[in-house]
């Protein structure tokens, strides 16, 4: 029996391991091996400028993660705990910045800076500063905090807080000593993802940060593609991966320690707002996150509607036309391509990530931790390393995928995987083992008990992860730009292309395409969330 069980675990673990081995470890190892054989990595790593590069990269990512938490946590509380009208829509809207190409976020920030007089005209300027980088990263990542922490917060039994209040603890003390410790696993989880995203951020650093503020990611890109200095790029890529593994392991440790005291009981439905004071509190909690997400969205919509001197739907109509865009296809065709890739990538991410999460949450400690770290590494790996690696390594049958369409969703799934895992693992860990024991007592076998207990409890978190994986695939630009075909562009690559030439009409069409993408994302997230089982716990 014990042997059979162990074999089953191995079988479950093999799927994600094989996926990572073939589509991540092998390609990346191939490219690293290539670069290291041509020059000394140590020479590059020991340079003073490399030290500054690592320090700045880590600092801006850590700063972005902390700020995203500061803005995201109050909103996570509001979305999880309060019975707001249109909660579903709010949650779906929060994912939109993920699919917006950096160029759009950058342009929106620029427009906002201009409007509030911080573009330098009044002596105080934000354009091309570190502050601007941090702001843009908050726009892009506040959703991670709100959704990952929020989904966990909704599952917390509020009776512990209530008891503490009854015993005379102040609100602040309850938050500090009762709520936050129980939320800690999800907070660490979200912080880890935001950190990695900002650690490998590319467009924001170049567009918003301007020249002269390189990070590891932009330097890897520059050395590899603009200077064809593969040894230097490889050394930096290696350094990037070492830092990522170290940080992921540290965050994972913190998350596990925190999970020890965070067992979930029965959640209660969200609270209705009764007094004006409560309403004000909720509004204040939501406002910063809402402003960050809605302002760029508003700018996008406004620009997509700006036709000629006035406003209209002309740019949207033009999306269906095949000529006069500089693309080989009608811009709308890119939407179909993007959706196909994103659905495939999401399915891969959910299946592989789901199995991986079960292993991480329940299997032996060492193997589980190893897999956990391994799954996060692709998120912290530069798109250049991954893109070049896939092209160089997968060159012979049965894996000659270099010119196959399948390579795009596979690369996107690698980026989406951590979201599925990060959403699922805290939820799985937090399931009270006594529920499962109760099922066993009632006669269910161990796997049946897992199925009947775990699946309904975590179904919603799977969907949160799936929604993110979907959005990330729709918006992925880095690896996709290496792998997508010019005659079958995705929406981000088509937008990049449209924005790469003069002409107000093309610019308007790019913005219209962005609005279509945003609308599709909202719709898809709403549908994904509808799919959840009726008896799953709701926000």
């Amino acid at each position: 029996m014990a042997v059979r069980r162990r074999l089953l675990w191995v079988a479950v673990a093999l799927v994600p391991l094989a996926f990572l081995a073939v589509f991540f470890a092998y390609p990346v190892a191939t490219i690293l091996e290539r670069g290291l054989s041509e020059g000394s990595a140590l020479d590059v790593i020991r340079r003073r400028s490399t030290g500054r590069l690592v320090a700045f990269t880590v600092a801006q990512a850590a700063g972005s993660a902390v700020l995203s938490l500061v803005v995201g946590l109050p909103a996570a509380w509001a979305v999880a705990r309060v019975d707001l009208p249109g909660r579903r829509l709010v949650r779906a809207l929060l994912v939109v910045p993920f699919v917006l190409p950096t160029l759009v976020v950058g342009a929106a920030l620029q427009a906002t800076f201009g409007r509030f007089g911080v573009d330098g005209t009044s002596g105080f300027h934000l354009e091309r500063t570190v502050t601007a980088i941090l702001l843009a990263h908050m726009v892009l990542n506040v959703a991670v905090v709100v959704r990952v922490v929020g989904s966990h917060w909704a599952l917390l039994d509020p009776r512990a807080e209530e008891a503490a209040r009854v015993l005379g603890a102040s609100r602040l003390r309850v938050l500090r000593e009762v709520t936050l410790p129980r939320l800690a696993p999800a907070v660490w989880s979200a912080a880890g993802i935001v950190f990695l995203f900002c650690f490998t951020s590319f467009g924001v650093i170049l567009t918003v940060g301007g020249p002269g503020r390189p990070t590891l990611e932009t330097e890897i890109w520059r050395q590899a593609t603009q200077r064809t200095d593969v040894p230097t790029a490889t050394a930096l890529a290696l350094l990037q991966m070492v830092v990522v593994v170290a940080l992921v392991a540290a965050v994972g440790g913190a998350e596990r320690r925190a999970a020890a005291g965070a067992i979930v009981r029965r959640p209660v439905p969200p609270r209705r707002l009764t007094t004006a004071r409560q309403r004000l509190g909720v509004a204040l909690a939501l406002a910063p996150a809402a402003v960050l997400v809605l302002v760029p969205l508003g700018v996008l919509v406004e620009r997509s509607l700006a036709v000629g001197g006035g406003h209209g739907l002309g740019h949207f109509r033009a999306l269906g036309e095949e000529t006069g865009t500089g693309l080989s296809v009608a811009p709308l065709a890119a939407v179909g391509t993007s959706l196909t890739y994103a659905v495939a990538a999401t399915l891969i991410a959910v299946v592989v990530g789901g199995l991986a999460s079960v292993v991480i949450a329940h299997a032996g400690r060492v193997s589980g931790r190893g897999l956990d770290v391994l799954l996060m590494v692709p998120l912290g790996t530069s798109a250049v390393t991954l893109g070049f690696g896939l092209l160089v390594a997968l060159d012979s049958p049965p894996l000659d995928l270099r010119s196959s369409r399948a390579i795009v969703p596979i690369a996107q799934a690698l980026v989406g995987l951590p979201f599925v895992v990060r959403s699922l693992v805290p939820a799985l860990r937090a399931i009270d083992p006594r529920t499962r024991e109760a099922a066993s007592v009632l006669g269910a076998g161990p796997w049946r008990a897992r199925w009947e207990v775990d699946v309904p409890l975590v179904a919603r978190t799977v969907l949160v992860g799936a929604a993110f994986a979907f959005a990330v695939s729709l918006g992925e630009f880095g690896a996709t730009s290496f792998l997508a075909r010019p005659d079958a562009p995705t929406v981000p690559t088509a937008m990049f292309r449209l924005l790469g030439q003069p002409g107000a009409a093309l610019r308007g069409q790019a913005m219209a395409l962005g609005v279509v993408l945003a609308a599709l994302t909202v719709a898809a997230v709403l549908v994904i969330e509808r799919l959840r089982p009726k008896d799953a716990l709701g926000w």
Partner: protein, 371 residues
């Protein structure tokens, strides 16, 4: 762990950029840009005779590649060869990726390697020599590849653009690179970082071609004094600071064809461009195509190169990629010629000069302009 990483780094000074100050003063040797071993050229006669019905060739391009829908259909009908397209990011990424897979290429033909990357590509042994018949008609100035390792397809100019709104009287507009350091044009110019942008690099090369190895550094120091703005890419420069002619900055590094694109995609439609071109401050870039070494279909690949140089493809280039075809037999559409300024005396550097100097130049440029 992180502390360990940080401790490991930051121990040594950066190496001095090689060749700074002397680049451009020495003539690159005759063998520059040649691969170690030159492959056997593809014989045009064998290409003409081969029965290629049913074969498929893959064309690798950069992300600015565009053709009219169905353009390759006529090629397939005529030859029986199917064409598949793959992209690999911008021109630099495409060339780097091809160098990594040299000899075992993803595609059969590469289109879009330009003057600035050509030498790097040919030196790394990317291509098999092939000279299409139509190459004989192409002007010599465009035939920049050594040993026919690549075939010129189109030619474009990176030029200074200015806003006609900011300079309504043409007499006030900038007319040369010299003007940019004139206090009259203080805080007016925005350009791209040559380390991250292709037009940015072309503009740096233009200044080196104009002022030479001795003068370009001083010119850039003066330009910095005069308030130049540097951004990462073309989009941030043209659409951002220049505001497509209505922004804070009134002079920008863009293309000779920018006025044509501006009119063609104007909104609301208008028939006069708001953008002017400084014809005396342009850097010329030729884009080439080559048969990739290691292809399984050398004849079909060569046929595709023939097609790229044929009037069908050449006449499709202007309104899709907004550059000029190199084949004099190709007729230019009127919508294109009406708004493009012919650049008679562009600034140029040879691929070998660029390859020898570029890394040193861009590093020196960063020190002068960004630090």
């Amino acid at each position: 762990m992180l502390i360990l990483v940080l401790a490991l780094t930051a121990c040594t000074d950066d190496p001095e950029p090689a060749g700074v100050g002397e680049s451009g003063t020495t003539e690159p040797d005759a063998n520059a840009c040649r691969p170690e071993e030159l492959p056997e050229p593809i014989d045009p006669a064998a290409v003409a005779d081969a029965d290629l019905d049913g074969t498929t060739v893959t064309l690798a391009t950069h992300d600015s590649f565009a053709v009219s829908d169905g353009l390759f259909d006529s090629f397939t009908e005529e030859t029986g060869i199917e064409v598949e397209l793959v992209t690999a990011g911008d021109a630099g990424a495409m060339v780097s990726q091809a160098i990594l897979t040299a000899g075992d290429p993803v595609a059969d033909v590469m289109f879009g390697i330009d003057t600035t990357f050509l030498c790097r590509g040919t030196e790394a042994g990317l291509f098999v020599p092939y000279a299409p018949e139509a190459l004989a008609d192409v002007p010599d100035e465009y035939r920049i590849a050594t040993d026919d390792l690549a075939t010129p397809i189109d030619v474009g100019d990176v030029c200074l653009n200015y806003s006609k709104t900011a300079f309504p009287d043409p007499a006030d507009a900038p007319r040369s690179l010299d003007d940019l350091t004139d206090p009259a044009f203080a805080d007016a110019f925005v350009t791209e970082n040559p380390e991250t942008s292709s037009p940015g690099l072309a503009f740096l090369l233009a200044t080196i071609a104009e002022y030479g190895a001795e003068g370009w550094e001083d010119w850039w120091a003066d330009l910095r004094e005069n308030g130049v703005e540097v951004v990462s890419g073309w989009e941030e420069a043209f659409e951002g600071s220049f505001g497509a002619g209505s922004g804070d900055r009134s002079i920008v590094t863009s293309y000779a064809s920018s006025p044509a694109v501006d009119v063609l995609y104007s909104d609301p439609p208008r028939d006069e461009s708001v953008i002017g071109v400084v014809a005396d401050a342009c850097f010329r870039q030729v884009e080439l195509a080559g048969v990739l070494r290691g292809t399984d279909e050398p004849e079909a690949a060569a046929r595709l190169v023939d097609f790229l140089l044929s009037p069908t493809f050449q006449e499709d280039i202007p309104l899709n990629m907004f550059v000029d075809p190199v084949n004099p037999a190709a007729e230019l559409p009127e919508e294109y010629t009406a708004y493009t300024t012919p650049i008679d005396e562009p600034l140029t550097l040879t691929p070998a000069e660029i390859e020898a100097g570029r890394d040193g130049w861009t590093e020196r440029w960063t020190e002068i302009v960004l630090r």
